[in-house]
């Protein structure tokens, strides 16, 4: 069986689409798992999106917890003899997949950006060496555990005629001496760079916090309204919250237009935006690395370029 799980429904639907291909190729059935009372509503949706069976796990836990959730999955994997397990690659999914792999003594590859058969073996690709290379890896044993980030695959349109079973489960798990005490919003949270179509980003080239308005004005003129940044601005200077941080350890984005102003183009930043449609770089250093990753660039002082560009866009777009 091919088994799919994510605590994020959106990723689960994307994985079901790929899972269906894999299941077809392997001549196996596709299983989806939903865990916790908030997720029962998703079970029917998983079926119309391709699942042949949905396991709905009832639990008293209010929130995701890797210790218990990995036990639920372990039990379902064993019961269904699932050999290929796709898990959504968010922070919860990664720690879940890794713990599960430890418990099952299984191979696991996280953050796979590609998934295919080569010499009849399941083969995956992931970015390594902070964006400098792609490792092509192959499983030499089963079960195979794979985590996939959001938006790598497209969900299938719902097929209302697709039928499947919903199986309710309740498991006894071991008692773990860890518990969640509190869950808080980290920050304002009205920015979602991962969904943005146009992003204007800032980096070290800005001299003070106040100057970031040059970026937001440009973003407004483009009607994109989304401001991103590189690591120093969010993590070190804290001029913007981490919602804005684009890079290997920040958010990975795929807008149709990405404008990087005053960003040098460290590979860690590139790794977060390389899948953008068109990339524009503005930097006063003609040797800046960012230009190598850009479709268009302007060599110039951003303090001069940005206001002019903002005006030009305003004129163009009204």
């Amino acid at each position: 069986m091919v088994l799919v799980y994510s605590d994020d429904k959106k990723i689960a639907l994307e994985l079901l689409s790929k899972g269906k291909d894999l299941a077809k190729e392997l001549g196996k059935k596709l299983i989806a798992v939903a865990i916790g009372k908030h997720e029962e509503v998703n079970t029917k949706e998983y079926i119309v999106h391709g699942a042949d069976t949905v396991f709905f796990v009832e639990t008293d836990l209010e929130n995701f917890k890797a210790e218990e959730y990995s036990e639920f999955l372990e039990k379902i994997i064993k019961e269904t003899n699932s050999e290929t397990v796709l898990i959504g690659s968010n922070k919860n999914g990664k720690e879940l997949a890794s713990r599960l792999a430890g418990k099952l003594n299984a191979g696991c590859v996280v953050d796979c950006i590609n998934l295919y058969f080569k010499d009849k073996k399941l083969t995956v690709e992931r970015v390594v060496y902070s964006g400098n290379a792609i490792a092509e890896q192959q499983f030499i044993s089963k079960p195979e555990i794979i985590t996939v980030p959001p938006k790598v695959f497209n969900p299938l349109p719902p097929d209302q005629n697709h039928k499947g079973d919903i199986i309710k489960k309740k498991f006894d798990t071991e008692k773990y001496n860890s518990k969640i005490m509190k869950i808080q919003e980290m920050k304002s949270g009205d920015v979602n760079v991962e969904e943005a179509e146009i992003i204007v980003s800032c980096g070290r080239g800005f001299k003070k916090k106040d100057d970031i308005k040059l970026v937001s004005e440009l973003a407004d003129a483009l009607k994109g309204k989304t401001v991103g940044c590189s690591r120093p601005i969010a993590a070190d200077l804290k001029w913007l919250s981490e919602d804005h941080w684009i890079g290997l350890s920040g958010h990975k984005v795929k807008p149709k237009l990405y404008i990087a102003a005053g960003i040098s183009g460290q590979i860690q930043h590139i790794a977060g935006m390389r899948d953008s449609g068109i990339i524009v770089a503005i930097n006063k250093d003609p040797e800046a690395l960012i230009f190598k990753s850009a479709d268009y660039g302007i060599v110039g002082d951003l303090y001069e370029v940005l206001p002019k560009l903002t005006n030009a866009f305003k004129e163009k777009l009204g």
Partner: protein, 253 residues
């Protein structure tokens, strides 16, 4: 508090150059170092020891030259080092089982600390895998830790949410880079580290035959096909040309 820190020797990724023809990374001759976030884990262990006493053991699974790196960790403040020599072929399954084996061998421990991920591969598998093998609770992505006699409380950085989790001991904790600033050892500490013990454990002494479950078949270059049209002249002119180009690309609405 008895604390075990798992630290990995990695290539310094910031030094990696890409071969302009093959686009593949050139890894030969690149300096080795302890993965940055693992140093944050050790720093946190030292802070806990300063407050509560106890002993810090660092374990590195790697080649025998990793001994030099372990000395750096001893200079920072770890009490003892353990080098687990990796077999020729390894993956996370092999490494995590060897680390778990070494942890069991060390015996009494309260906290296992790791970085959230290594800077070369950035998988973050080792911590949760080891916790799963040892059947102990895991607290991942900790950006803040408070240790008390009977329990540990950690604030976890989950992106949009901060999740505060509590656990008794033993527990495995992975930390983020933001949790602290790792200290630089003084010359005296560097000299003093020479007297601290480093033991070597072979893979055979920790687990019976163990084989990887995943193998890397190729390391590919990253294709970056961008137009690289750079306007360098007069700024007004450049701005005009850029707007024109973006209009043609159809990305302006």
């Amino acid at each position: 508090m008895n604390i075990i820190v798992c630290a990995k020797q990695v290539v310094d990724v910031s030094e990696i150059k890409v071969d302009p023809n093959t686009k593949k990374p050139i890894l030969q001759g690149i300096a080795q170092k302890i993965s940055d976030i693992d140093k944050n884990a050790l720093e946190e262990a030292i802070k806990i020891k300063e407050k509560h006493g106890g002993k810090i053991t660092v374990i590195t699974a790697g080649p025998s030259n990793a001994k030099e790196r372990i000395k750096e960790l001893l200079a920072m403040g770890a009490d003892e080092g353990v080098l687990v020599t990796l077999p020729d072929k390894s993956d996370y399954h092999v490494t995590s089982n060897l680390l778990a084996g070494a942890i069991k061998k060390i015996g009494a421990y309260d906290i296992v600390l790791c970085g959230e991920a290594s800077i070369d591969m950035f998988s973050g598998q080792i911590g949760p895998r080891v916790a799963g093998i040892l059947k102990i609770p895991q607290i991942t992505y900790a950006q803040n830790i408070n240790v008390e006699k009977e329990k540990i409380t950690a604030e976890r950085n989950m992106g949009e949410l901060a999740v505060t989790t509590e656990s008794t001991y033993p527990v495995l904790v992975t930390v983020t880079k933001e949790i602290n600033e790792p200290r630089l050892p003084s010359l005296m500490q560097i000299l003093g580290a020479a007297n601290k013990p480093i033991s070597e454990l072979s893979a055979d002494s920790l687990v019976s035959t163990i084989n990887p479950k995943v193998e890397t078949i190729e390391l590919k270059g990253v294709p970056m096909t961008r137009k690289n049209i750079i306007f360098k002249d007069d700024i007004d002119e450049s701005v005009g040309k850029l707007v024109e180009s973006l209009t043609k690309e159809g990305v302006l609405r």
